[in-house]
Symmetry: C2
Subunit: 304 residues, 2 copies
């Protein structure tokens, strides 16, 4: 079943210890869509500027991603310039030009109305809520956010959380949102805000799934692939989300085991994303490579 995703489509200039790239295609909705497209149909809602041409659109459409919700506006696309020279776990932002994204007012094509799955990528919670309310028919809603919204737009974010089934955030965001250092207690506090399922991403240490089971919280852990070179961490979290949610959306019925396998597929897609700059690796993947890496992840964690 298909996923509608709303978020940013952008150009990124990135420098890491492995090299640099100017204006490569990026943005949370791009990474999410590409990763999810290996599992299910994806429909994207975003705004781009006049610098977004057929070549960029083809990266999406060649994966079967529906771009009818990609609005063209006068001006330039969202642009981000950052580096990871000191710390591969945290980007240092040099430039953030919102450009056309500053006036983003998501419009949902009528053709997207039968989507069963909605993903609210990291954007203003006011927009996340508007899209959520405009798609009342969806069966499962997942979302992401970041420290800026948690710290400075908390009331709007709390409204979004009430309508989420699944929240995917990282360690720092979880601790900030809950106001609690201990991750288990933080998870419980966040679940009480709305999302019954919480995925906390730990970067090179993998990710944890917290799900409600009767009155208790159940946990499941996946590792990250041990990599001897992380070329570019940009988009790892969004690619995780795409693999995770794309796999879920591809299942006829979703049970506890589906969530566990989704965690593995999330970690698999995150591991590919960081092997090359921008979308270079994910845009050129095959399903066979994904399945082989899934098996590799299993052998990293499973007893015989």
């Amino acid at each position: 079943m298909s996923i509608t995703v709303v978020g940013s489509v952008a150009f990124d200039s990135i420098e890491t210890p492995s090299g640099k790239r100017e204006r490569c295609l990026g943005g949370a909705a791009t990474y999410f869509s590409l990763a999810a497209s290996f599992f299910t149909g994806v429909r994207v809602i975003a705004v781009v500027g006049e610098d977004f041409g057929p070549e960029e659109e083809k990266v999406l459409t060649s994966k079967g991603i529906d771009t009818r919700g990609l609005e063209r506006a006068a001006g330039k696309s969202f642009f981000w310039k950052g580096s990871y020279m000191e710390n591969l776990n945290e980007a240092k932002t040099h430039i953030t030009d919102l450009n056309v994204f500053g006036g983003f007012d998501p419009k949902i094509p009528a053709e997207y109305a039968d989507s069963d799955f909605l993903f609210l990528a990291n954007i203003d919670p006011v927009l996340q809520r508007r899209v959520r309310e405009a798609m009342p028919q969806v069966k499962l809603v997942a979302g992401d956010t970041m420290n800026y919204w948690i710290n400075d737009h908390r009331p709007a974010l709390l409204e979004v959380l009430k309508g989420l089934n699944i929240l995917l955030i990282n360690d720092t965001e979880a601790r900030t949102l809950a106001g609690e250092k201990n991750l288990v207690r933080a998870a419980r506090a966040i679940q009480a805000m709305g999302p019954e399922t919480l995925v906390i991403k730990h970067g090179e240490y993998g990710a944890s799934l917290f799900s409600k089971s009767r009155n208790s919280t159940e946990c499941f852990k996946v590792p990250a692939l041990p990599l001897d070179e992380v070329v570019d961490p940009t988009g790892a979290g969004d690619s995780f989300a795409g693999g995770f949610y794309g796999y879920l959306a591809s299942q006829q019925t979703i049970d506890a085991e589906s969530y566990k396998r989704a965690m593995f597929y999330g970690s698999v897609m995150g591991s590919f994303a960081v092997e090359r700059f921008g979308t270079e690796r994910t845009a050129n993947l095959t399903r066979a490579e994904i399945d082989a890496r899934f098996a590799e992840f299993r052998s990293l964690t499973h007893l015989g």
Copy 2:
């Protein structure tokens, strides 16, 4: 088969957000021995002072731990006072009184000579090497160290590493020892120093096993138990080592699968250690509790 362990037996005064304890039994050899004693015979080599009485010794002997190598010296036992008020992942040391431990010259009882397994807990590498050379018959040697020896006693430590089959250290220690931020590359560099097997402990994020397989490095990951309260982190790493090595020593034959299961038992024993102050939890465990938690760890990580 039995393990001989050399290391510290000490008194610790500990403060954490959960409370405080004065002069509880501690030291790397204590934590290691208690954890390993659930799996195999353990023989301890250490020095204690006149403040170490029958009550303390009974904590060890009641688990069948051989204390004939526990030397009594005039003066007081090693004393450490520390707190974890700001950060449960890193102790702040207030007092380190080496006392009788300052003149420690390990003496190996003749009855220990048939040990097949040796564990060199975190002590001066000069002493680690002396014990290693005095026990040439052992079949497997594992060891621990810390940043102080890595930074200030590197030549002596490198000599020890040449004679180790297994090294167990944490993230920071691995990065410092290898002079390399990336943990996979750090692991490879450390393996080139001697130990063919390396266990890197990640605290609340679990641990990684790196083992040589033909010409490549194989990795296996275990999680840490998600705990909503870490009462006292003291001894978690030594308890991990005790569970890991104790399990290995209990096996008739040791293969790749044994190491994987040993990682789980290590993480299990580390998870118990932090649930109460000092040795309170480990000293009162049952094998049934250990097996139940092993099953819990499996369900935390394994797909159906």
